[in-house]
């Protein structure tokens, strides 16, 4: 089917079973599917005015435009995900014509089929851990014998020496704080990974982005078998309780389309 030149084809995700494309009332977007060799691409028509390179460059600085469109993308993928396994695409994956999408499906057919098989019955869950360093520091100062010893030394030392000892103690506490955070986040990651099919660590995000008072200390994602969600949840509940008084808070979100576990174009998984 040829489309008029001014229309572009926006690709949301790929599935193996025929998607329920017309029934996406929540999203308000009219989608349809393009089929080739056993897989479907879920697409919608968008105007080249909106998604042209030139317009995108103008719009990307407008956070409300970005938010609206990114949320729309996500809502379409989530609606499809309710019924079947999806391979989600990155925002603004746009083709010129239906034919080109069809060609794309054929060219990467084996990769997509393998990815869909890999992701069957699995959900992506995200775990972000935040730390209140003040709380953890206070706890260390109270409980750690070495730090308490250093505090006693400072009290009994002369003015000049006390200044030097304080600096040494602060350095010691800072290192211990980092060590403890590493230990706690590693433990949390490993235990969660134990309940997962696959696990990944993403970049730590700064406060300007997270808009949280606490520091992010772990940004991780897990691919979890649907049958093991209860177990996965149980692990998180235990971790949350275990580290609550250490100043850590756990932010878990999901189920997500498996954005973090489907990169067919990178080296990852190419020769598995």
């Amino acid at each position: 089917m040829e489309v008029p030149a001014r229309d572009l084809i926006y690709l949301y995700c790929i599935t193996k079973s025929k998607p329920h494309c017309d029934e996406l009332p929540k999203t308000g977007i009219k989608t349809y599917s393009i089929y080739a060799q056993g897989i479907y691409a879920i697409v919608s028509k968008v105007s080249s005015g909106k998604f042209s390179e030139e317009n995108l460059k103008k719009k990307i600085i407008d956070m409300s435009w970005v938010e609206r469109n990114v949320r729309q993308h996500e809502s379409v993928v989530e609606a499809i995900m309710e019924k079947t396994t999806v391979v989600p695409f990155k925002f603004a994956s746009v083709f010129k014509t239906d034919k080109n999408v069809e060609k794309f499906l054929k060219e990467h057919n084996a990769e997509f089929k393998r990815t869909i098989a890999d992701l069957k019955d699995a959900e992506e869950w995200g775990l972000k851990i935040y730390c209140n360093p003040g709380k953890l520091k206070a706890l260390l100062e109270e409980e750690n014998e070495m730090i308490r010893g250093k505090a006693r030394e400072i009290v009994s030392a002369g003015k000049g020496k006390a200044y030097f000892l304080k600096k040494k103690r602060d350095e010691f506490i800072k290192n211990m704080l980092n060590e403890k955070i590493s230990e706690y986040t590693q433990d949390s990651f490993e235990r969660s990974k134990g309940m997962s099919l696959r696990a990944k660590i993403n970049k730590i995000l700064p406060k300007e982005v997270t808009e949280k008072k606490e520091d992010m200390v772990l940004n991780s994602v897990f691919l979890v078998n649907k049958k093991r969600i209860t177990g996965f949840n149980g692990v998180l509940v235990n971790l949350k309780a275990k580290y609550f008084d250490k100043g850590l808070s756990f932010d878990c979100s999901g189920p997500w389309p498996p954005y973090n576990f489907c990169s067919i174009c990178s080296n990852e998984g190419k020769h598995e």
Binding site: L11, I14, F51, S52, E53, L56, K57, I60, E67, V70, E74, V87, P88, F89, K90, F91, S93, V94, F95, K96, K103, F104, G126, N178, I181, T185, Q186, F189, L197, R198, A199, K200, I201, N202, K203, I204, L205, P206, E208, V209, T210, V217, N219, N233, L236, V237, A241, D251, C252, S253, G254, W256, P257, Y259, N260, C262, S263, C265, S266, E268
Partner: protein
């Protein structure tokens, strides 16, 4: 405290941007808009991200260089 799980519909824009703009299948070839251009959407955040990475490296990140765990 019995359930730490959240539903994705309640999550912040951050969670969605972290996925929809950063992850997902990346296409190349006969595509009108190259992904490199789309990455500009995230430029503001990227600058912040890289500064934090540097910070993390300096203080010794818990998982320096960790990517996907081998399966």
């Amino acid at each position: 405290m019995n359930n730490v799980m959240l539903k994705s519909k309640d999550v912040t824009l951050l969670e969605i941007l972290d996925r929809v703009l950063e992850k997902g299948v990346v296409i190349s070839g006969d595509v009108v808009i190259s992904v490199a251009d789309v990455d500009l959407v995230y430029l503001g955040l990227k600058v912040l991200l890289s500064s934090v990475e540097t910070m993390e490296r300096l203080r010794g990140a818990p998982f320096a260089g960790a990517g996907e765990e081998p399966t």
